[in-house]
Structures are given as structure tokens and as C-alpha cells.
């Protein structure tokens, strides 16, 4: 296998928080707690998990929009953690991001043309005329029209605004796109348009995606491999076909079984988990899933399992597989 284009190693983000009143000991929120994965060029790595498990924090750390507490981010053979602020800004030309809420992420006072041109100005690409020509190309590329450049974000529907966000991300010809819940705010009929667009663009430009979402079906559709996160850690990571059809980790199993399937003939055997996800400020000892795991063993509350590669290449973090 060739060298991965992007590799993160033991990425962590700890937030110190003051709990309670004056003089109380401060606690630590382990938003991301030792995440490692690699992504090949042209591949899509999906990241799924429930609210608060650390997906967005992971995505933003890769671009150092959030400064990691610890860990390595190797892109094209270079550790991004070694770069100065200025160098990092330049490196972001290769790694762009698409966000969930297309409305909040587009400046309402700027024209769409300006919004798409801006990253090219930041990265000093071309002259005014060339940039404007590129804006028009990009608009067509994402299924809008050149004349839309003069309009403002509020004149567009949610799906169209997401297309604008995609055009802006593509403007500087990035290699990697980190998409954080890019279709979560969209209606199904529009969601499928945007998913198809993302796939087409990937083929056309050999883009590498990190696709973050909580919707398991969406992630399955778009991803080659999928990592499942729980409380700041990846608990299972494998090729998506494998992961969905033969989940190994008890949490992955429960998560998949909980998805309501849009077919009344299919009655899934739901594994109902008890209780809620614990606070990342107080993760349980041992396996952080042990207090909810239907098959927990004695060892699970004592020893922490690690992400281990099985014979068939799948990665699972669970004592059942050690």
C-alpha cells in the first residue's frame, strides 16, 4: 500500500474547565483522547458517532483551527504540528473545510462571488480577472450559474448555500476536504443532490475526504472506510462494507441496530442501550463503554482496551477481541 496522504497519531484535545465555585479543583474535558488514523489519496474516511463524541474537534484539529493538546498530524510526509502559524496558514491551501450550517458559514453581507473568491485572495492566486473567471467556473461546477456570483447568500436555499460552501472550499484546489456534517441541515431530497455532487467532484479531482456525520446511512454511502467514535476515542475502524455488515464492537452494533430502517418489512433487532453517554470530564475507568455495554466482562472496568488490528485488517478496541 502506498504512503497515506494524511495520518494522525494519538491526537488529543483536553480542555481544562473550572467546576463549581471559587477554589474548586479544575477538571479536564477529554474532548478527543488519542485518535489515530490514516487516509489514502482519493479515499473517503467517514467518522461517525453521537453528539459530543469529538468528531468536530478532531476535524478542526487536523487544520489546527483547534490546537491539539498532543499528537501528530502528518500531511504529505510533513508533521503539521512543527509548522509556524504562517506556514500553517499556507498549508491550509491543501486542506479545506465544509461546514454543517451553510447559512452561518457564509458572510451575509458579501456577494457569493466575493465569498468564493476570498480564499484565492488569501492564498494570492491569480489576478482579479483570473479569479473571477474561476469563480464562474466553480459556480457551474457545483451546479449553480455564473450569474449567481452577484447575489447574496440569503437569496439561496439551504442546498444551494451548501453548494456555495463547496465551491469556496474547492477554489484553492485543495487535496483534502474535511466535511463536518455537510448535509445534516438539508432535507433528504436535497441531501442526495449534494452527496452526489461531492462524489462527482471527488472523482473529477481525485479529492481526499474526511467526512464527519452522525447519520450512519449517509456516511456509509459516501465512505470507503469508517471510524466509529465514542467518548473521544475511535472504537472501531474498518472498510465500510465490513463495518456495516459485520460490526465487531458492541457499541458499533448497538449504534447500527438503533437506526430506523426506511422499510416496514425490515424489523431490526434493536439493541437498546441503557442510559446516556457519560460526560467526557468523567470517562469511566477501563473501557469507557463498560457501563452501557451489554456484554461487559470483569476486565472491562479495570483495563482500558486499545485499538487493535485484527487478522482481516479491521481495527477494534474491545477486550472481546484481545
Amino acid at each position: 500500500m502506498s504512503e497515506p496522504l494524511l495520518q494522525v497519531e494519538n491526537l488529543k484535545k483536553y480542555y481544562p474547565i473550572k467546576s463549581g465555585g471559587f477554589g474548586k479543583v479544575s477538571e479536564t474535558v477529554r474532548a478527543v483522547d488519542g485518535v489515530s488514523f490514516s487516509v489514502q489519496e482519493g479515499e473517503t474516511l467517514g467518522i461517525v458517532g453521537e453528539s459530543g463524541c469529538g468528531k468536530s474537534t478532531t476535524g478542526r484539529m487536523i487544520m489546527r483551527l483547534i490546537e491539539p493538546t498532543e499528537g501528530k498530524i502528518v500531511f504529505n510526509g510533513k508533521n503539521l504540528m512543527d509548522l509556524s502559524k504562517g506556514e500553517m496558514r499556507k498549508a491550509r491551501k491543501d486542506i479545506q473545510m465544509i461546514f454543517q450550517d451553510p447559512f452561518a458559514s457564509l458572510n451575509p453581507r458579501h456577494t457569493v462571488g466575493h465569498i468564493i473568491e476570498e480564499p484565492m485572495i488569501v492564498h494570492k492566486m491569480g489576478d482579479r480577472k483570473q479569479r473571477q473567471k474561476r469563480v464562474e467556473e466553480l459556480l457551474e461546477l457545483v451546479g449553480l450559474s455564473a450569474y449567481h456570483a452577484g447575489r447574496y447568500p440569503h437569496q439561496f436555499s439551504g442546498g444551494q448555500r451548501q453548494r456555495i460552501g463547496i465551491a469556496r472550499a474547492l477554489a484553492v484546489r485543495p487535496k483534502v476536504i474535511i466535511a463536518d456534517e455537510p448535509v445534516s441541515a438539508l432535507d433528504v431530497s436535497v441531501q442526495s443532490q449534494v452527496l452526489n455532487l461531492l462524489k462527482d467532484l471527488q472523482k473529477q479531482f481525485n479529492l481526499t475526504y474526511i467526512f464527519i456525520a452522525h447519520d450512519l446511512s449517509v456516511v456509509r454511502h459516501i465512505s470507503d472506510r469508517v471510524g466509529v467514535m465514542y467518548l473521544g476515542k475511535i472504537v472501531e475502524l474498518s472498510e465500510s462494507e465490513n463495518l456495516y455488515n459485520h460490526p465487531n464492537h458492541p457499541y458499533t452494533k448497538a449504534l447500527l441496530s438503533a437506526v430506523p430502517v426506511p422499510d416496514p418489512e425490515v424489523k431490526t433487532q434493536r439493541i437498546i442501550l441503557q442510559g446516556d453517554v457519560p460526560s467526557p470530564a468523567h470517562p469511566p475507568a477501563g473501557c469507557t463503554f463498560h457501563d452501557r455495554c451489554p456484554v461487559a466482562m470483569d476486565i472491562c472496568s479495570k483495563e482500558r482496551p486499545h485499538l487493535k488490528k485484527l487478522d482481516d485488517g479491521r481495527m477494534v478496541s474491545c477486550h472481546l477481541f484481545h
Binding site: S189, L195, L216, R220, P260
Partner: protein, 323 residues
Amino acid sequence: MSEAILKVDGLKTSFFTDDGEVPAVDGINFSVNEGEILGIVGESGCGKSVTSLSIMGLLPSPPGKIVGGHIYYKGEDISHAKESRMRKLRGNDIAMIFQEPMTSLNPVFTIGDQLIEAIRLHNHLSKQALTDRAVELLKLVGLPRAKELLNEYPHELSGGMRQRVMIAMAMSCNPKVLIADEPTTALDVTIQAQILDLMVKLNKETNTAIIMITHDLGVVAQMCNRVVVMYAGKVVEEGDVKDIFNHPKHPYTEGLIQSIPDLYGKKDKLYTIKGSVPKPGSIRQGCLFAPRCEFVMDKCKENTPELLGDSHKSRCFLHQEQA
């Protein structure tokens, strides 16, 4: 067949804004039978919430107003009932739960204060009996530590726990109909599974009819007996859940089902419906779906199709013999 307990007949609800009248719900019909779970499904803005608020007498008014049609509860037209009558119905007969449980719980009162108040409104019980009933309800909705929870505040609970409390409050008066407007949309999928399970269980045990309002076809397929599909303020299809999923009649319903990515198999390309949902009132003539429909015919642009059929109805000329 069981009796219709709630019947919505030609309901029209509009908002009167600076830009004129917005016909958010434009002549819809459906009924709910005793003890059944009816799904109302549609994309954002199609009028699902306005429908439920109209039934509950909770429309923000002004600007909202029921401008046509009737809502019958056990035969009584409640579409223009007095607030005092509605308040009585809301307590005893029809209850509602909303998408965001935080906004419907008062942050300054404990769970116990709010739950006991809800029970007290409709029951004359002693203080001890009220507390016992509150604990019983919290246990019914599967909340652990029920006694302690009574003294806790909404912010101390997770989203899933708050939604359980809301369900407990809604069930406190043994309603005949429970309207649930996107009750799990703000929740994670494993918590959603807990809540949906709970709702099905309550439906079976208490025979409360549920109107499940959602944009999620998966939730409909797994929970509902019958389905109403809404598009741009109108019902476009209605039928038994299996008929709707196995033999959808309206191109919009079919498109929606096709657009969902598959959890177990891999479709290469997803089906798409071109364009997006029209603003209410923006299409004045012909079928509302015509600009997005791949089967559109000339007559679709000129004439407005009616909702026709026996147990499986659709609003589309493809399935209607007519000139």
C-alpha cells in the same frame, strides 16, 4: 375497523405577514383512529408543525389563523373552540410533545414541581398521592432514580431524559391522542431508539393514539400503521405503511424513499429530486410538485389534482382516470 377519534377536514391555516397571506396548510384531510399510530411525514416547511399547532389550539395568533375547514375530536368541531374548552381538552384528551424538550420545560422549576402541577390540574389528589403518581409516571417512562429526579432541574438532565419527562407529563392525563412533533429529531440515534421504543410501548399499554410527525421515513416505517405524506401544505398521499413504502403512488413519495442512502447495501448514485420545496403560495396553478416532477404532463400544469383513492389515496394524475 376502529373509530376515527380525530378528524381533520379541509383544514386551511394561514399566516398573515407583511408580505401577505402565507397558506402554510392548504386544505388537508386525514383522520386518526383509536389506538393507532399515524405518521405525518414531509420535508421542512411543508406544514407539519402548523397542522399540529392548529389541532392543539396553540397557533401563534396573530399572525396565524385557521381560515377554513374543521377539526373534529370525537365528533365535536374544535377548530374554533374557546380557549377554556381547548385548555380542558389539552389536559385531558389531546396531549403534545415537541422537538426541543428544553424549551417546553421551565428552567427555574424542578422536574417534580412541573410534573406534579400537570397532574394536579386534572386530578384532585392529596399531596402524597400526587407525588406517588409523579414517581409512577417517571418510572413508566423508564427513568431511573425517579424520586431524586423530582428535585432536579431541567438543565441537570440530558436531552433524552428531558424528552422522557415531557412524555411523562403528556401521559399524566391519560390522553386519547398524543401528538408528537419531531420528538426525537434533536436526539442521538441510540437515545432516539429508547424514546421510540417507549412510545410504542405506551401506545400498546394505554391504547393512546399517536400522531407521529417526522421528516424521517425510517421512523415512520418502523413505528407507524398509517402514513400521511405532506408536500407544500397539502397531503399528497395517504395509506397503510406497507402500501406507502412498497407501492408509493405519488412521485414525490417515491422520490423521497429513493433518495435515502442505504444502510446495508451500496447504491452508487443516489436518486435525486431536482430543485427544492416551493414557498407556500408561490405556485398558484396546477400540481404543486410539477416543477420537480419527472413524470410531469401538460395537464399537470393547468389543473390541480385532487386527493383520490380508497384506503390508499394520492394527489396525482398518473393514477387518476380523468379528462
